[in-house]
Symmetry: C2
Subunit: 359 residues, 2 copies
């Protein structure tokens, strides 16, 4: 997410330090409590802390941006709320990796990878090691999900705001897991999901917890009107979909040094994206579908699939779609939010799309 390094982030640097402080406190407290149970429990918490260390804190940033620009003054409460969303994000990542049987993230072993490697070193079979990784990843994700609720519940505020914040978090969890379920089920289905279904997944799996909820929560904590919070949610909805489409395009066409991940992983996996859903309606699909979704796909084959996706207009279609959602997001803002917040959100959106223009 290269749009995190733009100017809008500068204003909240001090607040972000407070988010780190909350997370540090959270993990220190957890490790102290874990060691009183058993040293093995401390090891699990250390693995969790490592996995959470490398995040870009996108959701806290968004939350703090809305909070500050809407006049919020209680840095401690906002940092705590931001940290809760960061933990929520980490819980989802850990469980996503369990579902995808991924053992690496950002080039290093994730929680499951750490435990499966450890089991292997202790002489376990590949299957037993995989099981050890699955079990510890599952438990780790549960702990972090519970931790998110714990931090969220400890934000000091009045009953009315508390109830609204609870509703936002609840909807975020409900929605994201629904999106993840659809993602899993669509990946397993023989037929390609419709564009509408792809959008449903993007909205539920990405927009809600990464954009809508942090913006809304920041607004509600700042005491903004229901109308402003709803406007930010509407913005977040389209912005998240735009981001997801852009991210999927870059996952296939982007430069690895910019995206930080391989540009054939999604093709090998046959990940259901807006681009592929469009391509599935074109004559080139026969060739594309024969190549993607295989662990043995070569670099040359990936290159050929890229050419076919360009050729049938799928790449252009997806870029256009991302751009339309970004426009729709901006349109939602209208005059409802302060100019400074609107400008920051607009520059964030430009960053989302920036990578696409150089393709």
């Amino acid at each position: 997410m290269n749009f995190l390094n733009t100017e809008y982030a500068v204003e909240t640097d001090t607040d972000l330090g407070l988010v780190e402080d909350v997370l540090d406190w959270f993990f220190t407290d957890a490790k102290l409590r874990a060691v009183s149970v058993h040293p093995a429990y401390l090891s699990l918490w250390e693995a969790i802390e490592r996995s959470a260390a490398s995040g870009k804190r996108f959701r806290p940033r968004l939350l703090l941006l809305a909070y500050r620009q809407l006049g919020g003054m209680d840095s401690a409460a906002a940092a705590r709320l931001g940290a809760a969303y960061e933990l929520l994000h980490n819980a989802f990542l850990i469980h996503d990796d369990v579902i995808d049987r991924d053992v690496m993230r950002h080039g290093v072993p994730n929680v499951s990878g750490h435990y499966s490697n450890k089991a292997r070193r202790a002489g376990a079979s590949a299957a037993a090691a995989q099981h050890a990784g699955m079990a510890s990843g599952l438990l780790a994700g549960d702990l972090v999900l519970a931790g998110a609720y714990r931090l969220h519940g400890s934000v000091e505020t009045c009953p009315k705001v508390r109830e609204e914040l609870n509703g936002i978090l609840d909807y975020a969890v409900f929605s994201t897991i629904g999106g993840e379920l659809l993602d899993v089920e669509f990946a397993r289905a023989a037929e390609m999901p419709s564009p509408e279904e792809i959008r449903t997944v993007a909205r539920h799996k990405t927009s809600v917890y990464s954009f809508e909820a942090p913006l809304q929560a920041g607004a509600v904590l700042a005491g903004a009107t229901a109308s402003v919070a709803a406007t930010l949610a509407a913005f977040g909805r389209d912005a998240g979909i735009a981001y997801q489409i852009a991210d999927d395009v870059l996952g296939v066409f982007g430069q690895e040094q910019h995206t930080g991940k391989t540009n054939w992983g999604d093709l090998r996996e046959g990940k259901r994206t807006a681009m592929l859903s469009y391509a599935a309606t074109k004559p080139q699909w026969k060739q594309i579908s024969e190549l993607i979704g295989s662990d043995r796909m070569t670099a040359a084959e990936a290159q050929w699939v890229r050419a076919l996706l360009r050729d049938c207009g799928a790449q252009e279609h997806a870029v256009q779609l991302a751009s339309e959602h970004a426009q729709a997001a901006l349109k939602q803002l209208g005059d409802e939010v302060p100019a400074g917040l609107g400008d920051s959100l607009e520059s964030l959106l430009s960053s989302v799309l920036a990578g696409l223009h150089s393709l």
Copy 2:
């Protein structure tokens, strides 16, 4: 848990009806929201609801017992809090089954079983079907865990009680997952865990969320003193350990028609129990250890292991240990709690041990 049908439960029958109402509302609301995401999401929620339908509501019963006997009058709040602990229990069951790769519970397919059967019928390979079961079980458990927090957070009370309730729930989750981690790690280790380690697992995995937390939460919601709540927690700690040891003995020596589960499953699995930990120090262990922990163990071999466990004194030791913990639990109560509550808890403990006397 046959001790659920004893007299102590009678007093809270109306309250229990309210717990069912809360759960009904919870699932109806979730299903309505799920269908607005996608029909596939509704199916997941239906599978979750089925899996939660057959519970004996032990934790809500305990919570309501403490609440009523300590003078609590807000039925709605207590029922909601009880339902939260019931959901927490269900979340743990669903994720335990994922970790144990169990596809049945109470003789019917669990969430994972439902999804792996469905995948099989759709033509998936055994491995793909298992993966489908794992993924849906993982997501289902996340939803129910989040649901527990949601209900818990919606109990109306004052800030002080709210903070205490949050602390109790947080400790319950933290402790239980720690216990589950140890259970998984000990099962994988070559050497038998020490009696102390077995007790640590029982305390963290069973006592805390099934006994201590519901009793404490009921007391705190009723406005009891910190001292009464602490006394109930201390009771729950030993009562839970007594229950776990008794349950493990009955899992090997009990009559299947009484326990509702096979009496060789634990032996086949090689489950680490107080009984086996004791047996591991005896000459009979060589023979025992060669037979247990194998999927291919026959009924005759199981019968032979039982004879060896009796012979080396492991059965008697475990029965004695359960009895000692039950005594210790009762001793904790002292004069601190009202007589009616003390009597109910004592009869509960007798029921826990009742099955052991007939062995």
